[in-house]
Amino acid sequence: MNNQKLSPFLKGMLLLGLLFLYIPIVSLIVYSFNDSKLVTVWGGFSTKWYASLFQNEQIISAVELSVQIALASATAAVTLGTIAGFVLARFKRFPGSSLFAGMMTAPMVMPEVITGLSMLLLFISMQQLIGVPAERGFFTIWVGHTTLCMAYVSVVVRSRLLEIDQSLEDAAMDLGARPLKIFFVITLPLVAQAIASGFLLSVTLSLDDLVMTAFLSGPGSTTLPQVIFSKVRLGLNPEINALASITVLVVGVLVIVANYLMLNSQRKRERALAAAMRESSAS
């Protein structure tokens, strides 16, 4: 679409939309510096909730567990999701391909109370039949998060693969490269960026998941969202405001840096392409 002047209506809606999205987040951050224990009554500036947050062992250990699960799930999700995205983009039709594509889409939209319950009942049945998994915890949460995240990764990788020119892969094959080599030398570097954003997306999805985790976790494995949920259920809590502010800061910086790097490499690629075109037309 070309860039015409935006009408006042569109400008207004954009501004309204951004205000709607950001006012809650900004208020969350402002009140995290509130001295008063009553979150919404201003009692002066203070950073004491940050100090008490870092001394809260329940939260610290939940953060540790959540980060471990997120990294493990994101790694598995990226591996499985990249293969799935590749299969969907390049193999197109094969026996059962439509069921496969359906199973890739559904986890993204299926309400988590359903996926969580069904996966739990699977693990219970497996335990009755073969004795594995012995208990609910890290492993069962990891399987759940991986299944959820791989769907997102496969969508990102698939749409990137459909964008890029297949002639590079064709050329490599004509020159005698084996399929596995083509995949690792040509295809994988081309979708590296999609895989990286798939990984980041998986980490945030896993770190944030409450409902599925509630079904799949055991007594000894309480993740960060579970701790937040149990506190927030009782009402406002200044420590959670501090935690939220840190989350927003970390995510904000990460997203902005990632976005900047991506734009930069895109520009570099475009410039290199333009230079190559000039050279080939000059010779």
Binding site: L21, L80, F94, M103, V255
Partner: protein, 305 residues
């Protein structure tokens, strides 16, 4: 299409590549639904796990199969469940419509900005999506509270004399639902609108169509696919939403996700939870199949270009 032929020749390797994610999804996504269906026919029991088994091998090699239809009978006969399913569908439908009405102009405005600023705007819209869903819901608890920011502000400027009841009712439920699901609507809409050829609108205006007519005859039909994708991405998960009705909904907010959660965690009635889930899947299977068929067409169309 060279590479396609190559892959076809390499059947065994191809099969192995496909089978890894395929097997994972069969085992961890599809099979569990059949187990849910199975357990929805069981009875609650004071055991670990807390339900009866359907099949029992009795003396003399007699296999006894017990199917308990009581859960479904209860769901069908007690109008609490009918009301809850209906109100969940209603809430999801309302959320979808509001997200569309609010999200469309935003997506359209971003798509029509020049590319340099477009990226910044898109990032601004997506940034909340990357931060925690749970914490964004929590943020509204502080705003909507009886002595929260909105009430303090309105009292402060003298617009109201006593705090408004903004929290723990249908208003707060709908508001936060729209807030949480808005990015899921904007992104698919944007990715369709940005591909639209602006010259079509110029042509329309050259031929004398006003902006409103041009919008309804050109922009809207061309973005139909984005509207469908975005609406499904909002509607389907919204039907089963649990966190938002639990944290900001009212005491008489009926949402089926909350009912399922309570049956499972509070009543420890796993068969009933399974039956509730089974009925929910039956309700959602049509929209999910619709979304799936639509996405396949979409991607394949793009791939053949």
């Amino acid at each position: 299409m060279n590479i396609q032929r190559l892959f076809k020749r390499l059947k065994p390797g191809r099969g192995a590549v496909i089978s890894i994610p395929y097997f994972w999804l069969l085992l961890f996504f599809l099979v569990p639904f059949f187990i849910v269906l199975k357990i929805s026919f069981a009875e609650q029991d004071l055991a670990i796990p807390p339900f009866t088994s359907l099949m029992n091998l009795e003396e003399g090699g007699l296999l006894h199969l017990t199917l308990n239809l009581g859960n479904f009978d209860f769901i069908l006969s007690d109008d609490f469940y009918a009301k809850t399913y209906l109100s969940s569908l209603q809430t999801a439908l309302f959320t979808t419509l509001m997200c569309l009405l609010l999200g469309y102009p935003i997506a359209y405005a971003i798509a029509r900005t020049d590319p340099a600023r477009r990226n910044v705007l898109l990032m601004l819209v997506m940034l909340p999506f990357w931060t925690s869903f749970l914490l964004r819901v929590y943020a509204w608890m502080g705003l909507l509270n009886e002595n929260g920011l909105i009430n303090s502000f309105l009292l402060g400027i003298g617009l109201i004399d006593e705090p408004l009841q903004l929290f723990h009712n249908d208003f707060s439920l709908y508001l936060v639902m729209v807030y949480a699901y808005l990015p899921f609507m904007i992104l698919p809409l944007f990715s369709h609108l940005v591909k639209m050829d602006g010259r079509l609108l110029e042509a329309a205006s050259d031929l004398g169509a006003g902006p409103i007519k041009a919008f309804f005859t050109i922009t809207l039909p061309l973005s139909k696919n984005g509207i469908i994708a975005g609406s499904m991405m909002v509607f389907i998960p919204a039907v089963g939403e649990f966190v938002i009705p639990e944290l900001v909904g009212g005491p008489d907010t009926l949402m089926i996700g909350k009912v399922l959660w309570n049956e499972f965690f509070d009543n420890n009635n796993w068969p009933m939870a399974a039956a509730v889930a089974t009925v929910m899947v039956l309700l959602l299977i049509v929209p999910i199949a619709f979304l799936h068929r639509f996405e396949t067409r979409q991607l394949e169309g793009k791939g053949n270009e």
